[in-house]
């Protein structure tokens, strides 16, 4: 069975948020109607985004790695959000495995969002329905778009090509090749949801810095750190895949 999904390379992702912004932009103007925000230019802007990029620090100073982590709906094979929906507004398409919400059937009970282990469903308070990543179903089959643009908006906008889109059940697809070549893994493999999106592991970036190149100034609790970095000596090590 066909299963379209995204493969996201954590090593290539630079955390620029272009995917998230382009996702928001496309989904505010595409076939599903607007995606409004509360207080967009104020102090407390909030609203639905289908894709969010978070940043984590791994390790402890000075031996740390920064990991940018984009997350959108995983289009799970055993999507728990689909099985709990009392109206069948949440459904998984037979033909390509995309999980969608039928906005005309959703009663806004929010039960599906409790059932998603990844926190990928967001409630649209303006329309009173649950929303989430559509895997750009209104782009990938859209014959009004030129053929090379029939890709998810987030994939097209990524400057480092950290996102690959394709059928993960077809071993010949670009996505499957990326997974097998790059040791792709799933988030929370023990969640039981069997997510379709895959991540390619971050690889440790070692920058050789001598002790005398690090200045640590202690000002009360604040540490100011200055580093001179020798960019030519970048060593790439395996970072290890967990999960």
């Amino acid at each position: 069975m066909k299963q379209l999904a995204l493969v996201i390379d954590l090593y290539k992702c630079v955390g620029c948020h272009a995917c998230a912004v382009n996702c928001k932009s496309w989904n505010s103007t595409g076939q599903f109607g607007p995606l409004k925000d509360h207080d967009p230019y104020g102090k407390e802007p909030t609203g639905v985004w289908f894709n969010r990029v978070q940043t984590y620090e791994v390790g402890s100073f000075p031996d740390t790695q920064v990991i940018n982590f984009p997350k959108s709906c995983m289009h799970c094979a055993d999507a728990p959000c689909v099985s709990v929906c009392p109206t069948n507004a949440s459904f998984k398409r037979e033909e390509d495995g995309i999980v969608l919400v039928n906005y005309d059937d959703c009663i806004g009970c929010k039960y599906c969002s409790w059932a998603c282990p990844y926190g990928c469903r967001e409630f649209d308070e303006f329309e009173g329905v649950m929303k989430k990543c559509t895997l750009c179903v209104d782009r990938i089959y859209n014959t009004d778009l030129p053929e090379d643009e029939r890709q998810p908006a987030c994939v097209l906008s990524c400057p480092t090509r950290a996102r690959v889109f394709g059928d993960i059940n077809d071993p010949q697809s670009e996505a499957s090749k990326a997974i097998s070549k790059g040791m792709g893994y799933k988030l929370m493999p023990d969640s039981g949801a069997n997510p379709s999106n895959h991540y390619l592991p971050h690889r440790k970036v070692s920058v050789k810095v001598d002790d005398d190149e690090i200045t640590v100034k202690k000002q009360g609790a604040i540490k100011a750190v200055r580093r001179k970095v020798d960019v030519e000596e970048v060593v790439i090590e395996d970072f290890g895949i967990g999960g």
């Binding site: 728990p80 069948n88 806004g108 329905v129």
Partner: protein, 346 residues
């Protein structure tokens, strides 16, 4: 989890309504068996109050839905969704209660009335199960996904509904033997409900999130810190799953809920119902006022208990926003890995 006030009202009020009806029918059957039937006023008032409370609960749950007009669409997913089953069973239960009331009003045959009542009780029990399973079926909220949840909903519903029924028996001076049996039963149910609730709280204290931030991100390192959640302000996921309100008062609320739900009612019951056990059925202290206080206290306690049930829930997706610090007990897997042991795979 953030408390959904409309659902709190639904489960507490409809739960008490179901409990009241179950006890009403039990009292009715008891009257039939012992040959001293219950007053028709008790049946009519009981059915009316039960129906009223359930309608109040359903009404408030409709307020929680943003599109209640599409509610009818919930009826064909009962095979896969407990929420759909609950939406079907609620009107079924209300239908039985109304039918029972009508039969009592028109003085229909007792066996017919009891049969309808019996079916109503079955639907009430199924409804407890469905309501509880809505929460127990969410594996990513460990506090909820336990058999305690439906059992707890049932016991507290039966206890608060039973208190109402005993209040009615007190008020209308119901048959002596029925009153005695119902009071003894209510005492036992309330006490059991308390033991189960306390056991549940103890269980939660030892609970930990089995999923880790390591598996959430797929990064095998003991030290992972969220630096930037990607947005400058809260959004649906941080508001819905990570409720921070009344952090400091939660302990007080917990004690108050146990006191109002169990301790005070048990004490009041003992005091109010003593004369009955001395064979003096006519003496209701203050004409059933104490019985009414018992019921009100229980419902107030149940509202607090349900509120705590919500805010105690911690969702696995919070791992993405800073780990499972909400849990009282630390995750032993994580503790081991911090001490230098390797993380187990998966």
């Amino acid at each position: 989890m953030s408390p959904e006030y409309s659902i709190i009202l639904l489960t507490v009020f409809a739960g008490a309504g179901q409990g009241l009806f179950a006890c009403l029918v039990a009292g009715d059957a008891l009257g039939f068996i012992t040959g001293s039937p219950m007053d028709i006023n008790i049946m009519l008032t009981g059915a009316a109050v039960s129906l009223g409370m359930t309608i109040a609960g359903v009404g408030s749950s409709f307020l929680h839905l943003t599109h209640p007009e599409r509610g009818i669409k919930t009826i064909n997913q009962w095979k896969k969704s407990w929420l759909s089953l609950e939406a079907i069973l609620l009107p079924v239960f209300m239908g039985f209660v109304a039918f029972y009331g009508i039969l009592a009003y028109y003085g229909a045959d007792t066996s017919l009335r009891l049969a309808v009542g019996g079916l109503g009780v079955v639907s009430a029990m199924a409804l407890y199960l469905a309501s509880g399973m809505i929460y127990a079926a969410v594996p990513y909220i460990k506090e909820w996904s336990t058999p305690y949840t439906p059992i707890n909903f049932t016991m507290i519903g039966l206890a608060s509904g039973g208190a109402l029924q005993v209040g009615l028996l007190r008020f209308f001076n119901g048959p002596h033997i029925t009153s005695l049996v119902m009071i003894a039963g209510l005492f036992a149910v309330t006490f059991t409900a308390m033991v189960i609730k306390l056991a549940y709280y103890l269980r939660n204290r030892r609970l930990y999130q089995p999923l880790t931030i390591q598996s959430a991100l797929g990064i095998n390192h003991p030290d992972i810190v969220l630096m930037d959640m990607g947005t400058g302000y809260m959004h649906y996921n941080t508001k819905e799953y990570d409720y921070k309100g009344y952090q400091n008062s939660r302990g007080t609320i917990r004690i108050a809920s146990i006191a109002l739900l169990f301790i005070l009612p048990l004490a009041l019951m003992t005091f109010d119902y003593m004369p009955l056990f001395n064979g003096d059925s006519a003496v209701a202290v203050g004409g059933g006022v104490l019985a009414l206080i018992t019921a009100v206290s229980m419902i107030a306690g149940a509202l607090m208990e349900r509120w705590l049930f919500f805010v105690d829930g911690s969702h696995a997706q919070n791992l993405y926003y800073g780990g499972s610090k909400d849990f009282a007990a630390p995750n032993p897997i994580l503790q081991a890995s911090k001490k230098g042991a390797p993380l187990p795979p998966g």
